[in-house]
Symmetry: D2
Subunit: 439 residues, 4 copies
């Protein structure tokens, strides 16, 4: 990250075309281990079928790039506007979100043809000269598609888990020796008035979502943050100490959920066939819980209760960003090229490799999204992006919590220190974990 | 069907093997126009995915026939017992009914292999000599499979209708001239003490479900029954007379549904894109409502309200059976052989061909199941069949209404005068219509 | 019942005025042990507040009698038409049923003033000469009010049971020696063609609801019916034999309820503070279960499962009526006069007193409503009463089961052999029990 | 209130006894216009019956003060611990919140006796010498009771509104000339590093809830805040401009609610009997909307959409507190003495009286709670109060938004600049409005 990209290179059509080919190929590679039947399943309203992700990301380019300022443009099929509009009220009516799994047609084969057609059109547009606005929207569309790549993995994990036969997305990795987790140390920060967020209007800035800016000042009190995420081993101690039965550890709405849902462990944990011997469902099927790996598939409520039980708390997003701001983005992330996907871990794992030698921090990026104590809201001076794509972020700024750092399912070139992910507090199907803070 | 079959021919293994091959082939032929994605969709808890029907009917033979008295028998895959048990509590745990659409694996290809394997095993059993109990259960399994054949059609119709693109199960028939409906005449019956139902224990009796018997006496007052089902034309008159807005025409629970669901027409009727010009969704896509055809996809409540508006009533099942008992089973039914399926109508249509010259009755069999005024309950002296298959009928004898006569989706050799179908009063996704009665 | 009343005496204004005063006084006497707060509670949509019953029964006279053919009539308060219309769609809009407990005003005091005003007006009308139609409607209104008297008791029982302090409607009776139950004998009937139901159009007939007629013929096979209702002792044997855990004993919808609701015993049974030692909540508070008394507060599903477990079945309503038709109406019923209410049992109890010496039948009337195997539907030739009061019965003829014989909360002069009560199969808050049948 | 109280005066037993008598009397005075039936109604799970508020606030003193360190203490009735525990998990089991309206006993009379008994005991304790902890808890209990005083008014308003007869809590005020609203001006603030929140551990500090502290630094960018709340007149312009039909103005979850609930105006607005002529339901019944008064009974979503439509935004709670910190607490609040309640407005109204001459700010306190853009969460260094009363605030810090400034139903000596109220974004039954901000 030493040389800052210039606007020229950022919007260089050739480079953009290369990125376009690379990112689009990853989506299809992620879907390729799945059968057409797999790709149609929607296991809950929050998740979507694989093929819907493949189509929706293409519809994004078709609608916002190809259709831009071209009254003669004819879409692949007009009905797709209804089927694959995710939430852009400004664009028109939408098929109900909870009923995406009922749409058997178009099938996977047609959707792949649709993708190929969109690819061809976009590349042709790049070749014959696109406007700056189109270049911007292509770049935005690629970042958008990378978000859906993560969802392809988390959503199919949820769908396969609904099957009592525990089917696999892919075969397990050959048994490598699992790493041990390092000791948990506290990294101190003196706080003070810090600058955070991104100056997105700066002509030399790289891509960022509108919610990452503007750059603004925040006063921080002194704090300490854990050198690594909490492990399954540590979380089992919380469970053994009756963590799921002690209301005083929980937010009121979390405690209600614990009782209603009968939560007793992180999501995807299974204590069958042998009771008391925990297994977890992964994209490679059912495997024993790895005690050294970061605990994962926690709701915000569980992360918060665990922190309280630990005598600590969750970091604020400002504390997290302050800590991460100068660290290199590296870790257990999803490879950014289709050819490298076979080496993806697709599951959090322990690591001793520091993000930064001095502080000893590890795993700030990758493995698990880290719940913060910060509700998702606008930075001072926030302005949504113009046009329909302005519905991308701002309208969700309510009742969600910010997560930071990316997970083992996040494309490696997608996440950064200023990146703000957000989910509702009860959500558990993302790769979500916890890093403690104090002070 | 003139000579009564003897037990010898009824359970002749060669004849049974022939029927087995024929019936099994129809199920696969019905699924063949559908993509793997189509075959996995479940659009409501009452409906099931096509491939689930294909598998469940095979599991029936595997469990009740192949496993019978053979402790060494090893099923295709043990997990299928959970996935494809529909409701046999005696057999073991079941995958939740409403989540059948989440099971992407086994896929269609594996289910077809499973079917082939079951077929092979059953035919081998027949060849090397099966017990009478096994022969009985094979026969039962074939009638069971024919019920699922009807459901394959009604369930996929419901699933395709959830898609705003109105996809087709098959291409429309070449435009034949639609028949006109005959005049509605009243066929009088003097009533009296009649014998109805089937004597299933008689050694010479043909197959019947346990709920069709025993034979018993019923006193009937004089009555009259309509010579044909009510037509779309007649039903439109009810609609035009504010039928859906007049509570006095409705049972209380029906009226509540009308308001909650906003019912304004039979199910699958669509008044778009041109308002006031009714189309209906069929297995061949969206077509204009055929005014002469029997009205279809009515709930019991609509049938009952229409009858009340007509100054008539629904027939009791005893009146219906008394009327049908000596009529030949013929009409717009589903062909019983795979090779003939192409000629199936798959939609009710007008017909002037009488079931019986003397009375002038038409369409007593086929086109639409006819709602009766009779709640589904046990005949005097009813005893459920022995074993787990005894859960087939008796345990549903509550809160459902009897329908008679079969529909355009009922296999032609499956229905008979004594046949009792049953659905909950709000159900609309079957091919259900109404024949009026008086007196 | 030896002398048949003539129309003259049936509609004698003086006699009607006497009945009017008597019946109206009972309602108020039933409410008198309750506080204003008690009288406002609605503990579920199926139940209503006491004061609502007091008002609704008055609104019935006001609307159907006082308003009849008198365009100048001004009701007490126009808003009451919305508040106290129970289900007469023909009359106008209704306050939502489930929200009756939210109406704090009018309060009890105003409702008692309203009752007094209606009483005065009706008696004045009788005195100065009412039309035959008005006399008929007054008679109907009194039978209607007696139905609400039973509901006042069952609804307040349900409401008080929602209070963890188990408050009492009244003090327990001084401890009389509880009667023993007689032995269970089977009373045989040869069946045949019988006449049942009421000829309501006959000029000499006494009052009956429209659903009790017309008189019609029914063919009955030979059957036997139990000499008394099943006891708590017998039901405990069903429970001890895992009755609530064996799906093969249950109708499918009943079994679903057992699991969803966690049913393990009849409603109002409590096994606290001492586990395994059953108490039951009564209108006199929590008392030990009386083993000899008829089992009570069963749903239809429980009655049906118990009968199946017993190797018996429920009687049809025709069998029940055939058995009861010549028996005197006597038993543990609600006294028909306010002055005698103090002697009411308000709880089923054992009795050796036969309804008929010859057969040895006991408790055909009173104690518990007896679930029959008959779905509630129209007799052949049924016609609803004319006008809005025709909504009284017919529109509920779906998804409900018939009960016969009255309970300890039914006014003694309200029930008769032809009387058809009806509730949904899951209902448990009425005094409902079971008498077995066979054959 | 000019001289700062010292710990000595803050916990002076005589002064506390005086406050105790005063505050307790207000609760009873607020209930006194209501009938016993009124006081029992619960119209939604979020609201509680009046008598429950009267009892719960007494149970608070009984449990936390009288029971403190006195093992021999015997409560009035042991069952009250279940009935009147609102949410203190540490204390024991609770009656389900949504079923408070089913508890007819204890009635109002007994609850008033219970209150008198608790009062006597607490005052006796104060007289014979209470520990510092008890004094603290008495003070906390009085602030707690004042919160319930506001809820008594908002909850009964909601309950009375469920009655189609629109009953009144009290008679309307004699028609005073309504004030005009002042012009909307923008009060500028340069921002910077400011200190906010309360230092609750300081020995000289006055009472504050644990969530108001600790004192901490916040960096504020320059901002401007409106001189007064938005008026009904201004909100009608938003409505007229299709505010409820334009998704681009709304947060996504707000827009879903608008459609599901059919919102077209603030809560309690009624456009009957004359369409298009808005009335609003108040504690004095139905009255025309006062165009000059602050708009009220908005959800957070409506406040936020209105702000976006206005080209402005909601203030953060830090901006609000910064603005209010030096202003005197005065405005249209609930009088703090029973004798003065008759003069309460109980409805927001326009006012020209500035909180501060220099800035021209009006109505910072009273009239309507002002929704802020800040999710309710912990200040840096927040620690919940010790013991069960620590469940008071912290466990609700999720999915709620902060409101500031108090309303016409907030006791005048209860609110202050640092006071943080919080409700879920959909809530509309509190007196909630909006003050705009910019920058």
């Amino acid at each position: 990250m030493t040389d800052r990209s210039t606007p020229t290179t950022r919007f260089d059509p050739d480079r953009l075309a290369g990125n376009f080919r690379r990112v689009r190929a990853v989506s299809e590679a992620l879907a390729s281990p799945l059968t057409p039947e797999d790709q149609g399943v929607q296991s809950m309203p929050d998740a979507s079928p694989t093929k819907w992700h493949l189509a929706q990301t293409s519809w994004f380019f078709e609608t916002f790039v190809l259709g831009l300022g071209d009254p003669g443009f004819r879409p692949w099929r007009a009905e797709f506007a209804t089927l694959f509009n995710s939430y852009y009220q400004a664009v028109g009516p939408m098929h109900p979100r909870a009923q995406r799994g009922l749409i058997s047609r178009p099938g996977v084969a047609e959707i792949l043809r649709y993708r190929a057609w969109v690819d061809e059109q976009v590349l042709a547009r790049l070749e014959r000269g696109a406007s700056i606005r189109q270049l911007e929207l292509i770049e935005l569309g690629l970042h958008h598609e990378q978000q859906h790549q993560e969802l392809i993995l988390t959503d199919i994990k949820h769908a396969l888990a609904a099957n009592p036969c525990w089917p696999r997305y892919r075969e397990p990795e050959p048994c490598a020796e699992p790493s041990p987790a390092g000791p948990l140390c506290w990294v101190e920060d003196p706080g003070g008035l810090v600058e955070l967020g991104r100056d997105l209007d700066h002509p030399e800035s790289k891509f960022g979502f509108d919610n990452e800016g503007p750059r603004h000042r925040v006063w921080l009190e002194p704090f300490a943050i854990a050198s690594r995420p909490a492990t399954n081993h540590e979380y089992l101690a919380f469970m053994a100490d009756q963590g799921y039965r002690r209301p005083e550890l929980w937010l009121a709405e979390g405690w209600d959920l614990v009782r209603q849902q009968g939560w007793q462990a992180p999501s995807y944990w299974v204590s069958e066939p042998v009771p008391e011997q925990w297994q977890q469902f992964t994209l490679a099927g059912l495997v024993p819980v790895d005690l050294e790996a970061p605990v994962c598939h926690l709701s915000f409520y569980e992360a918060d209760a665990f922190a309280r039980w630990s005598g600590a708390r969750l970091p604020s997003e400002a504390e997290w960003e302050r800590t991460a701001i100068d660290l290199p983005v590296m870790g257990n992330l999803l490879p950014a090229r289709a050819a490298e996907l076979a080496s993806a871990s697709l599951q959090p794992r322990a690591s001793l490799e520091p993000n930064d030698e001095a502080s000893g921090l590890t795993q700030m990026f990758g493995d698990v999204w880290e719940w913060t104590a910060s509700p998702y809201s606008a930075y001072p001076g926030y302005r949504p992006a113009a046009g329909a794509v302005g519905e991308y972020n701002g309208k969700f700024m309510c009742n969600q919590m910010v997560l930071r750092g990316g997970s083992c399912a996040t494309p490696a070139d997608h996440v950064r220190a200023s990146y703000r992910n957000f989910f509702h507090p009860p959500s558990r199907w993302q790769f979500t974990g916890v890093r403690l803070a104090r002070g």
